[in-house]
């Protein structure tokens, strides 16, 4: 799916300083195009999650503007997937996916077709009645993605959604997420620690540096979609990973120099 080029969202010089005096973000400029799959990649403490929260409207920037290109942001426009599945533990899969619609006043029956559709797309048909504790980590994350997509958002914000999963499950979810993205054509901002994941998924990787959090560089991942298993083992993928990795090392070194040798601890 060729990404369109008109911008959906522009961050103008976003800064965020916490009351403790920590500068989480410093003049972050970022343009997200309609249909982009953009990864925010960077070391811990580079403000990727903070940036995501500001885009979601969960947090206010200290300075700068989040510009939705004139289109007033509607509630349905944003889907959010957290690092943890963040489901209601007492509610069934069905009711968990119903939740965002329920909060908008859609009845259980009215929501049924949408819920059935989205559950089918994340391969959870048949698990409607299960409660989260009866599901594996990967399945819980699928529920979380289904919940994020059931309102048909224009943009899906994902905060390290697969970080806690085993590699096999993560690969599967990567593939399924790309399928969904291709089918539905929404925009994704995907926060991750992983070079490999960001390159596999995105058409653009924005690399951030820490202390203060800022945009360090951007890597265009110009490999064509659909990407599948053969892409994962291709020299092209390896080369893109190396390139991205080099940029990330640069970002980490920039941080280290800023602090005159504070070590980078990966989580």
């Amino acid at each position: 799916m060729p990404p369109a080029t008109h911008p959906l969202l522009i961050l103008h010089a976003i800064g965020k300083t916490f009351a403790s005096g920590v500068t989480a973000l410093d003049r972050v400029n970022l343009t997200v195009n309609e249909g982009d799959f953009m990864s925010l990649l960077g070391p811990s403490g580079c403000g990727k999650s903070t940036a995501l929260r500001i885009i979601a409207g969960l947090s206010q920037p200290t300075s700068g503007v989040v510009d939705w290109r004139g289109a007033p942001l509607k509630q349905n426009d944003i889907g959010f997937v957290f690092q943890e599945p963040t489901l209601l533990p007492w509610a069934s899969v069905y009711d968990n996916v119903w939740l965002p619609l329920r909060l908008r006043g859609v009845s259980r029956a009215e929501a049924a077709p949408q819920i059935a559709d989205v559950l089918e797309r994340v391969h959870l048909t048949g698990f409607e009645k299960a409660v989260p504790r009866e599901l594996s980590g990967g399945m819980k994350m699928r529920v979380s993605i289904a919940r994020g997509l059931v309102t048909r958002p224009r943009i899906l914000l994902m905060d390290e959604p697969f970080a806690a999963l085993d590699e096999i499950t993560r690969f599967k979810l990567n593939n399924d997420l790309l399928d969904l993205w291709a089918e539905r054509g929404f925009t994704v901002i995907f926060v991750t620690h992983s070079v490999f994941e960001s390159v596999f998924l995105s058409n653009r990787v924005t690399v951030m540096a820490a202390r203060p959090g800022r945009v360090f560089d951007e890597v265009a991942v110009d490999a064509p979609y659909p990407r599948n298993k053969s892409f994962r083992t291709s020299p092209e993928y390896a080369a893109l990973c190396r390139k991205t990795s080099d940029v990330l090392v640069g970002a980490i070194n920039a941080t280290a120099q800023d602090l005159e040798a504070e070590t980078y601890g990966d989580h």
Binding site: R53, T86, L88, L99, L103, L135, G138, M139
Partner: protein, 288 residues
């Protein structure tokens, strides 16, 4: 795709090694022992009680034999059970009020930190002051006997519900709160769909404690108010029996109170299990 965690169960009969067999055997023994052992100990204790009475020739107005107590329980059944109903009524009413008051106040607390900061100390003062010491005041200000007893039992019972439910309402996953915000949930929606269900395990824990405390409160209140006369709950029966050196009836009333407490506890535990077992305790029985 169907990678579901199904901890080993529903396995067909398989050959197991000696260690597994031993483990299985001890598990089965433990299951039986859990109810059998207390029963045996209880029976032994009652037998020993009976023997002490016989060996030492203790008169029945000091320590009646268990058989005598049982007889009294049957002979005085009418009197004792009508008293039990009186005590039970106070207990259950005060428990219901404690649920309303405790949950209501804790919901109020979570609506505003300011309200919580202002009022919580009062709840603590009420809780830590021994009810027996407050009762003379209640006795002065409140005329109606039932109201007196209710108020007394309520003061004892509502605190665990209040403190537990407040804790539960405030222990909601921050991300879920953010998620509700992101979806434009109203305060009421967040309370109803998120905070209250999340607080349920805490509330039910508090309820179990409050059930026992409500009974204690009802009995203590009746003890203190008992001299006033017209009340006829189990506590008054105990006092009365004490004056008349009617030890068998005293024991019978005591046993009834104990049994009531046990029944209340078991009922509340059962309710708690019904509500929570699917998502809060280990129960993975239904699916596949």
């Amino acid at each position: 795709m169907a990678t579901i965690d199904t901890p080993g169960r529903a396995a067909p009969p398989v050959v197991i090694d000696a260690e597994e067999a031993r483990r299985e055997r001890s598990r089965r023994l433990e299951r039986t022992g859990r109810w059998l052992l207390p029963l045996i100990i209880m029976a032994a204790a009652i037998w020993f009680w009976d023997r002490i009475c016989v060996w030492n020739e203790i008169p029945r107005y000091i320590l009646p034999r268990p058989g005598v107590v049982l007889n009294t329980l049957i002979e005085d059944a009418g009197l004792l059970f009508s008293s039990l109903l009186v005590t039970l009524r106070i207990t259950l009413l005060s428990l219901a009020l404690a649920v309303f008051g405790g949950v209501g106040l804790s919901v109020l607390f979570t609506q505003s930190r300011w309200i919580e900061m202002s009022l919580f100390p009062f709840a603590i003062v009420l809780q830590v002051t021994p009810i027996v010491a407050i009762f003379p005041l209640i006795n002065i200000y409140v005329d109606d006997q039932t109201t007196k007893l209710l108020l007394c039992a309520w003061i004892v019972a509502f605190f665990p519900i209040l403190s537990n439910t407040t804790l539960g309402l405030n222990s909601v996953d921050r991300n879920l709160i953010d998620y509700f915000r992101l979806n434009g949930a109203t305060r009421w929606q967040t309370l109803w769909h998120l905070r209250l269900p999340a607080a349920m395990p805490y509330f039910l824990g508090g309820l179990k404690i409050a059930g026992g405390l409500a009974l204690i409160g009802a009995v203590v209140a009746e003890f203190v108010a008992g001299t006033a006369g017209q009340s006829s709950g189990l506590a008054s029966r105990i006092i009365e029996a004490g004056y008349r050196l009617n030890a068998p009836r005293l024991f019978a009333a005591l046993i009834l109170i104990s049994l009531t407490g046990i029944v209340i506890f078991l009922t509340l535990s059962w309710i708690s299990h019904l509500v929570l077992h699917r998502w809060h305790e280990s129960a993975l029985k239904q699916e596949q």
